[in-house]
Symmetry: C2
């Protein structure tokens, strides 16, 4: 056995359900109208506990249940009904409004009133008085709506321009660009760098900052829409690695004067303006400016009234890449100080800086990432945050740190992966978590971690089913890095038999397949396949998330190389297991996992008999600038890396059965990837299978998902 | 056994090769660089006998062999070398021209000189003098080049405009349309109605008539080209049944005055102007004007100098459709008379009319189609033509008719399917034919049918191979129509065994799959599959060619209905054969045959276990106006017919394994057909397979063909 894969199983967790029944999963029910029940983490958007949220000033949280709105207090005791649908509808009719069939999505505006959107109007309902007020008159669809929480003014886009509507006023055109290549108020940088919106209200609502994206230079990619006859083409802007990219600027619209100024960001046109952010007093605006090479970041301060550049507060460089995903976090009590996320010491941690760029201190430390900042307490002596547990990187907990003493307290005491919703006064926390033992739990804790009460405990959705056994362990990479794997044994496992294996792989950055959540993160399709007699195996190779920057950056400039090395450590382990049929190993993944699947089929052809690659990247030079250049630089700068990762160049190695699958409207990994790959196969008599999902983009959802799950099942069943 | 399929085998021809060797076909050699040897009918474009042609005035024909140009005389005796490549190159160098690696494609201009195109120049070579003259100076590519045989003036197109170059003059712009929707000098009506070119020189070369096509109203269809990165879209004009179509007119350009007039065709914009044609004296121009409904044809005469409409000479109507595919054929000796093709009595025959529209007489008659008119003799007492043999509709012979006595002589005496090349004086005929017994034969006969000499006899390309037995027979349709079938037994046939069957189907108009040519028309892929142990069966159902108009029009307005009925007669026959495994029947076809394959899989799901449908029409409302409306009328006029033929509506019936295959650049059956079909399958969990050939249009050729043949072989092997 290869030295590099000597097994150091220090942790194998396995569990069995006490199954009371013998049901088997079917793909029909996993994709049917009741499928949500298999996904206990969706509790807040399903009928179990929708619209769980805190009120605005008092520590009371509310939720819906059976069309009744409840409020719950931060102490033991019964929750109180505060509104039922009947009463709500009665009051609607009284106010001359139409009845509703179900509760709208509500947002607390004060502790006694909430707003909601109905027929493109923003309506406020006073729960005590039972009365309504209309905040905005009837406008068009609020595309990219961003609602200012105090005034309820709405910033929204129509096509490429940005508008605001305030109260009953006519909509105000913030921008009036005729050129469709100039896009205002939309997200930018293809969702990288934490950009998921294009508008940013100032803290007091007096200004609206917005992205302006000039795509004139960006190439079009044609996406065919067959819903029309004849088919039509939608040209999307798709900047490919090394090609011309979008040019960004940030405008600030003054609600009073209705004038816009633009920040004087200077620099190269194709730099990234990331993590835009207001100072609490609305006087300054901050941008994390990243160069196109993504190896130099400047936190810049601008005058929000003139757009003038004031100074670069701090700068970070890396020989590989810097990845800004957080704004500075300002103290209210110390206006000259802020917390700052940095990965510079190897893990993502919080640092404390002055606005003059002076590093006061490193706040958090250790060999695990801080995932997100939650809040300060009201005195700003404590900070609350979510971090990866240093002793068990598969789970994340809620922590507090005393900023004076640096004392850290793990507030969430249960094993598992935790999220948190902090109460208005920051004295309480809704602790939401999932673990291998608990499908989904919600409890109320106080800011010291004391459990006040259980709020919700999801039923085991599989309690009536026979369920395969899942275990998690670690293996050692060639440089002794610990690699986590998950192994699902086939149902009715018989150690004397030989079973086929399906390796489910993702393998790319920003994702961790194995974590201490329900089923250790295994999908229901994987559980189904285990019931059908397959061993299901997954390993998080170097490059994946939550293991620190060295672990992630191991793949830099040479995608697939280290990932495959690590995956092969998993394969060697599988081959060492007496119940694995080493001649029947398959592999499956989607997106980066599709790339990995195809790469494994082509670069390890002796190992893998069957592969299913969904929406795979085939050639990184056809992938987008922002993500692609971070990990690969440009094709000009890194020709060897691009060549080695271009799977077209390895098509001739194919020995096993490979099925490529792609949504024809994929605007993330464009269809050209698989089309070019099969063209290469066609021209060289390399037999490969291919399937498309017309009209679907990067994921196949909805009615076609059952088809996809069935197709994949059949393909492994028939060929593996 | 069903009454309708009672067997009336009146003709079963079978043959065996005396195989001297035991070679088996491989798909590699059938698609390799020497694959032409399996296609003996390509003799004139392969190295066997390229460029076979008559001289211009004397009855001498020439051909190339091993880079030597030979001439051959209409008597027994040796052929004479008249030019070898060495001499030609020596003379080229002498004339200051570059040597050539192989003989150019030559065209006799006089009996002693030929012209050819080299580097976009038209060059004349005098064989006696060994001298060259350049007719045109260097111009751009002669797209759609049409060369006037006397002056060697070239009409050609550049994008949407028409040009002429005469001698060394600068090119003359015949049209100057800026609007790309106006297309001049190109073919029209999507190649229907015998339109394969867009320019028509007058008999003496003084005028050039040309099509002008206004496509402003025709919808675009987007075809993706992945050879560029990012992919680009080519918008093609694609008129779909019932939709807006192209508008045609015909211009006449006067070479002397350089003025253009347009024919005053009147009528509806979307009528078809078919079979344009000059009177021998250049004074008149004739068009077969067909209404969009394609059920009323007018042969119209126009004044070629003014464009004025003179008269409608004759008119033909049909309750189904009229399909004009021939111009009038004028007598030189009787300027007021012409021959005319019509299917009005049930078969395509020649009629004699006066220019005043008076029917003088029906010339040919009988229950078989005249396929093509060859020529008159010099006195115009005889006409020569190719016709289907009335007693055996699988073959076509060369006939002469004495126009006075109506005596018909079959000039080609050998069994088989004949083509003919008539000598300059019409006294001799090169008779080219193929039959089940002869791969390809060429002999010289005289105008009475007397064989002068053998010119060429192709070797049996399969003489070294073990070859499966082919037989042909007839079955009876439900209305007693005789249906021809071809049956290929598996190699090493053992009557006591059960074999799987592949039905190869086309089934649409304008094609006859079974004819008395080499292998009875079976493809080499079919012969390969028979070697692999499959029975290969093909039946020409009603709707197919060369059986008269009633046979063809049986499918009118209800495509797939009668075709399936007839195909099922074949299936019942197969099931009656003791060696057929009735549980293992597959079907395969391309284009209309892809439509038929899909229709058979969906409408006879109990019969067919496996199907491979190439480039299938799925919904005739997405097929082109000209072909589609002929057989189906418009979707508005024939909603039931379109519904019954729309295979989307039957997708849920699928039981067997169905593989759809499509070239992504298909501009005949657009990709939307298969995309919409699989989308229907995806949304309803109907498992179907799909494959694409990026960059290929309606046929898959070139390097990818081996891949396709292999994929189809594998699919049947693995699933049938």
């Amino acid at each position: 056995m290869n030295k590099s894969i000597i097994l150091t199983v220090f942790l194998v967790i396995s569990f069995n359900f006490c199954f009371t029944q013998n049901k088997l999963l079917t793909l029909e029910e996993l994709n049917g109208s009741n499928a949500y029940k298999f996904y206990p983490e969706y509790v807040r958007i399903t009928k179990d506990l929708p619209q769980l949220q805190w009120k605005t000033t008092t520590d009371v949280f509310t939720y819906l249940k059976n069309d009744i709105l409840y409020e719950s207090y931060c102490k033991k005791g019964e929750d109180k009904q505060i509104l039922d649908l009947l009463t709500f509808n009665k009051n609607l009719v009284k106010a001359g409004r139409a009845e509703v069939k179900r509760f709208p999505v509500i947002n607390w505006k004060t502790d006694n009133s909430f707003w909601y959107i109905e027929s493109s109007q923003i309506i406020v309902y006073d729960v005590k008085k039972g009365s309504f007020s209309t905040i905005t008159s009837n406008h068009a669809d609020y595309e990219n709506a961003d609602i200012e929480p105090n005034s309820l003014a709405v910033a929204f886009t129509e096509e490429n321009n940005l508008y605001i509507t305030i109260g009953n006023e006519e909509k105000i055109a913030v921008t009036k660009d005729n050129d469709k290549n100039i896009v205002n108020g939309h997200t930018v940088s293809r969702h990288e760098f934490n950009t998921n919106k294009g508008t940013f209200w100032s803290p007091k609502g007096n200004f609206l900052a917005f992205y302006r994206k000039d795509e004139s230079q960006v190439a079009d990619y044609p996406v065919i829409d067959i819903s029309k006859v004849p088919a039509i083409v939608n040209q999307i802007k798709y900047p490919m690695a090394g090609g011309k990219s979008e040019f960004l600027s940030i405008g600030i619209f003054d609600i009073k004067t209705r004038q816009t100024i633009f920040l004087k960001t200077g620099g190269n046109n194709d730099q990234y303006l990331t993590n835009p952010c207001w100072s609490p007093d609305e006087k300054y605006f901050f941008i994390s400016v990243l160069n196109r090479d993504q190896n130099q970041l400047k936190l810049n301060q601008y005058d929000a009234s003139t757009g003038d550049f004031i100074k670069t507060i701090l700068e970070e460089k890396s020989p590989k890449y810097v990845e800004p995903e957080n704004t500075p976090i300002f103290f209210k009590t110390k206006p000259n100080e802020f917390l700052w996320f940095s990965e510079k010491n190897g893990y993502k941690h919080l640092y404390r800086y002055t606005l003059d760029g002076e590093l006061i201190e490193q706040v958090t430390d250790g060999k695990s990432d801080v995932i997100s900042f939650l809040s300060f307490d009201q005195t700003e002596q404590f900070a609350y945050y979510i971090a990866v547990d240093e002793d068990y990187p598969l789970q994340q907990s809620i922590y507090s740190i005393n900023l004076n003493t640096k004392e850290i307290v793990k507030l969430s005491t249960s094993d598992g992966t935790h999220e948190a919703m902090m109460s208005p006064t920051r004295k309480f926390i809704l602790d939401l978590y999932s673990s291998n033992k608990a499908p989904h739990e919600i409890q109320l804790i106080d800011a010291t971690g004391l459990v006040i009460k259980k709020v919700y405990s999801a039923l085991n959705p599989l309690q009536e089913y026979k369920i395969a056994e899942i275990s998690v362990g670690t293996l050692q990479a060639d440089d002794n890095t610990e690699l986590y794997y998950r192994l699902i044994k086939p149902l009715n496992f018989d150690p004397s038999k030989k079973y086929p294996v399906i390796v489910y792989v993702y393998g790319g950055p920003h994702a961790q397949m194995i974590s201490n959540v329900w089923l250790y993160g295994a999908s229901m399709w994987q559980m189904f396949m285990a019931q059908q007699g397959f061993v299901i195996f997954t390993l998080d190779n170097r490059g994946s998330a939550n293991r620190g920057i060295k672990f992630e950056q191991a793949i830099f400039r040479n995608l697939s190389a280290v990932e495959i090395k690590d995956q092969m450590v998993g394969i060697e382990y599988l081959k060492s297991l007496p119940f694995v049929d080493t001649e029947r190993i398959g592999v499956h993944g989607w997106s980066y996992g599709g790339f990995m699947t195809t790469a494994l089929m082509l670069k390890q052809p002796e190992t893998f008999k069957v592969g299913i690659a969904g929406a795979p990247v085939i050639d990184w030079s056809m992938y987008e600038v922002m993500y692609g250049e971070r990990y690969m630089d440009t094709p000009n700068d890194n020709p060897e890396g691009y060549k080695n990762a271009n799977l077209m160049n390895f098509a001739a190695n194919l020995k096993g059965k490979l099925l490529l699958i792609h949504g024809t409207s994929d605007d993330t990994v464009v269809l050209q990837h698989t089309l070019k790959f099969i063209q290469e196969c066609n021209n060289n008599n390399i037999q490969v299978d291919y399937y498309q999902y017309p009209g679907h983009s990067h994921a196949v959802r909805g009615k076609s998902r059952l088809h996809l799950d069935t197709k994949m099942y059949n393909y492994f069943k028939e060929n593996l």
